[in-house]
């Protein structure tokens, strides 16, 4: 009937499979919050080419087959024209296959695995990543750590990262760049606790045994806080410098009760970095609305909506293909940009130019008073080199 047709023309459904239950339900809720905050603004400003966005958000329970099923259902049955894939790790690859199958516009918002966009075999024209990318993180982290290592004479290093693709790849890349900038360091111990491991005792004592001068970890979320609590009672933090890339996110910072001073961390989401009024305002707006601080996932998802809105404006259409076309190479103003903008790089359809840096923590606000910004020029150079070494170009 004409009425239905008009109603459909009026709204555009955006499907979002994510994890809303189980251990990492926080990923889903803060992703959803980030998205909804922006969708409201976009809708208030007239929507996507005049069509109001209607979000359809479903739980995948973190199972890839469920993620695939939900994604298909969102498109095939619920009539979603765009997918926001807020899945972690394997779920993202599963949704990626659905996007390949159905040709629907898909924005990966949470998966930081470099291969998702860097590997040309994965490449499809309709999928984009609006999240940070692992290798960027490692380049910045490596160069930051090298500076500290040289200054403090840290030669013996240990690593302790979760035993799954993200943990292994990020750690390997980090070590590569650390050694590149400070060739005389040495990794004397590696630990690979399982994801969601409740007890880290053996890992802690193993590291203490090895007596390294510095420790790198890309544990995150609850695992990181558990680890800190357990390492604390062994007084590990007083015995070495600790570099924990995922520490400087409010989820971890606000939760840990006895946060040791001076942990080096990459920024995830921090209200004070970039130190711009836009960023602070965004963080406050989020906090006001949801009564909690945004997470790394929040800004990554918010960025997806911001990019969508701009691309649609540019294409003057809500059509997936046209938006995709407009997205390639699109640069938008963003509170999360290193220079106030972020760019959807055309060649591999992944986000670049976001604020990225490292600093040390203190146990109270602003938690990370000084952030040393990463340099995107270096990132691009080394990333290109990395791609070549991987055979991606």
């Amino acid at each position: 009937t004409p009425w239905v047709a008009r109603a459909q023309a009026k709204t555009i459904k955006v499907g979002m499979p994510t994890i809303l239950s189980g251990r990492v339900a926080q990923l889903g809720t803060s992703s959803r919050n980030g998205v909804m905050l922006e969708v409201e603004k976009v809708n208030a400003a007239g929507g996507l080419a005049g069509r109001q966005i209607e979000m359809v958000i479903r739980d995948s329970k973190g199972q890839p087959q469920e993620a695939a099923r939900v994604a298909r259902e969102l498109v095939n049955t619920d009539g979603c024209e765009i997918l926001i894939d807020a899945e972690a790790s394997s779920g993202a690859f599963a949704v990626h296959e659905v996007a390949r199958d159905l040709g629907v516009l898909c924005l990966h918002t949470n998966s930081e695995t470099s291969a998702l966009t860097a590997d040309p075999k994965q490449h499809i024209p309709n999928a984009f990543r609006t999240a940070r990318q692992g290798v960027h993180d490692s380049i910045v982290g490596g160069s930051y750590a090298a500076t500290i290592a040289k200054a403090k004479g840290l030669k013996k290093w240990a690593t302790c990262s979760p035993d799954y693709a993200y943990g292994r790849d990020t750690t390997a890349e980090y070590v590569t760049y650390l050694k590149r900038f400070a060739p005389d360091i040495e990794i004397i111990s590696e630990s690979w606790p399982k994801l969601f491991q409740p007890d880290y005792t053996e890992v802690v004592t193993k590291i203490l045994q090895a007596k390294p001068q510095a420790l790198y970890s890309c544990l995150w979320g609850g695992d990181l806080t558990s680890y800190i609590d357990q390492a604390n009672i062994y007084a590990l933090f007083s015995q070495m410098e600790v570099f924990a890339v995922n520490m400087a996110d409010y989820t971890a910072l606000t939760v840990v009760k006895n946060l040791p001073k001076g942990i080096h961390s990459g920024n995830r989401y921090i209200k004070t970095y970039p130190a711009t009024p836009e960023n602070a305002a965004w963080g406050d707006a989020y906090k006001a609305k949801y009564n909690e601080y945004p997470t790394n996932w929040s800004w990554e998802n918010a960025t997806a909506i911001m990019l969508l809105a701009e691309a649609s404006k540019k294409a003057n259409s809500a059509d997936g293909k046209k938006i995709a076309e407009a997205l390639r190479g699109l640069k938008i103003k963003s509170p999360f940009g290193a220079d106030g903008t972020v760019t959807m790089r055309a060649e591999d359809q992944t986000l670049v130019g976001y604020a990225i840096g490292w600093g040390t923590t203190i146990p109270q606000e602003p938690y990370v008073p000084q952030v040393q910004a990463g340099d995107w020029k270096t990132i691009f150079e080394l990333e290109a080199e990395w791609k070549k070494s991987k055979g991606y170009t």
Binding site: S21, Q26, D199, Q209, S226, D229, I233, A235, K257, N258
Partner: protein
């Protein structure tokens, strides 16, 4: 694989002592969770898949109590007592209805509660992970005992676990109530025909099992992050422990837990990427050589 690290450690006495100590610590924490599981299986022949959920509730109760009162002792008490009551209610209202039925039906009820409890925790405490924080009394430097590093907090934990093992082990073997409990496990109909209220025993055992899980959760709360679903990973390891030791055997659970602890502490040196697999491998080897676990009774 990193066999050099392993042999290196075995050659150094400091490393040997430290890793053995950490194996013991891991084992004792595991035992504390596993003992309730094995008790409930031993008596009610119920494979309590909801045990992890009780562990979770214990942790959340303790954290909440600690936040409000700031008293560690009260936090532990709330964790243990709260889950004991929960266990009793769970058993009397739900589990008791499926005793006659298929074993799998019991599993199903437990499974239902795993789902329900996780969501209930998510409703009450939110989806984000939480941390209780270490009480100030325990924020002290670790001790060195025979060359091994032991944080004082873990000493407390080991003490509680050993006490639980002794009280339960001796209680079940020596006291009349212990004997009755074991008999009720085997043949509730006959036990009740001898004038003993089996309902009371079952409820009591479940409450005790729940209390042990809750206590374990409460004790773990200062050193582990609290999140819905946190019971799951603990559950699987506890199952490994109880199966290796022999389902229903308290001593078995203790030995099994210590063995797993040692495998973890030394395995993480030699096989950092396959520590998990090592545990399963060990379990397979134990079961193949001893089909009912190390201390399990012959299955009829």
């Amino acid at each position: 694989m990193d066999l050099d690290a392993l042999t290196g450690c075995l050659a150094s006495s400091a490393c040997l002592v430290t890793q053995t100590t950490s194996g013991f610590i891991i084992g004792m924490l595991l035992f504390l969770v596993a003992v309730g599981l094995t008790l409930i299986f031993g008596v009610l022949k119920v494979v309590n898949f909801s045990h992890g959920a009780f562990y979770m509730f214990g942790a959340y109760f303790a954290m909440t109590a600690y936040q409000f009162s700031g008293s560690f002792a009260l936090a532990m008490l709330c964790g243990a007592a709260g889950t004991a009551i929960l266990g009793l209610i769970f058993e009397r209202i739900f589990m008791s209805r499926v005793y006659g039925a298929d074993v799998l039906m019991q599993l199903l009820v437990c499974y239902a509660f795993v789902l329900i409890f996780d969501d209930v925790v998510r409703m009450i405490w939110g989806p984000e992970f939480k941390s209780m924080g270490m009480p100030a009394a325990f924020q002290v430097a670790p001790l060195f005992i025979a060359g091994g590093v032991v944080p004082p907090y873990y000493l407390l934990l080991i003490g509680v676990a050993l006490a639980a093992a002794m009280i339960l082990g001796l209680g079940l073997a020596r006291t009349r109530i212990g004997k009755v409990i074991r008999a009720a496990a085997h043949n509730p109909g006959m036990v009740s025909a001898l004038g003993i209220n089996t309902g009371l025993i079952y409820g009591g055992v479940f409450a005790l099992g729940g209390m042990l899980a809750g206590l374990a959760g409460a004790l773990a709360a200062p050193v582990r992050s609290l999140t819905p679903g946190m019971g799951f990973s603990v559950l699987i390891e506890s199952f490994i422990v109880t199966v290796i030791g022999g389902m229903g055997s308290i001593l078995g659970a203790l030995i099994g837990a210590l063995l797993i602890g040692l495998i973890r502490s030394f395995g993480s040196l030699g096989f950092p990427l396959f520590t998990e697999g090592l545990m399963y491998l060990f379990m397979v080897i134990v079961l193949v050589s001893r089909p009912t676990g190390l201390f399990g009774k012959e299955v009829a």
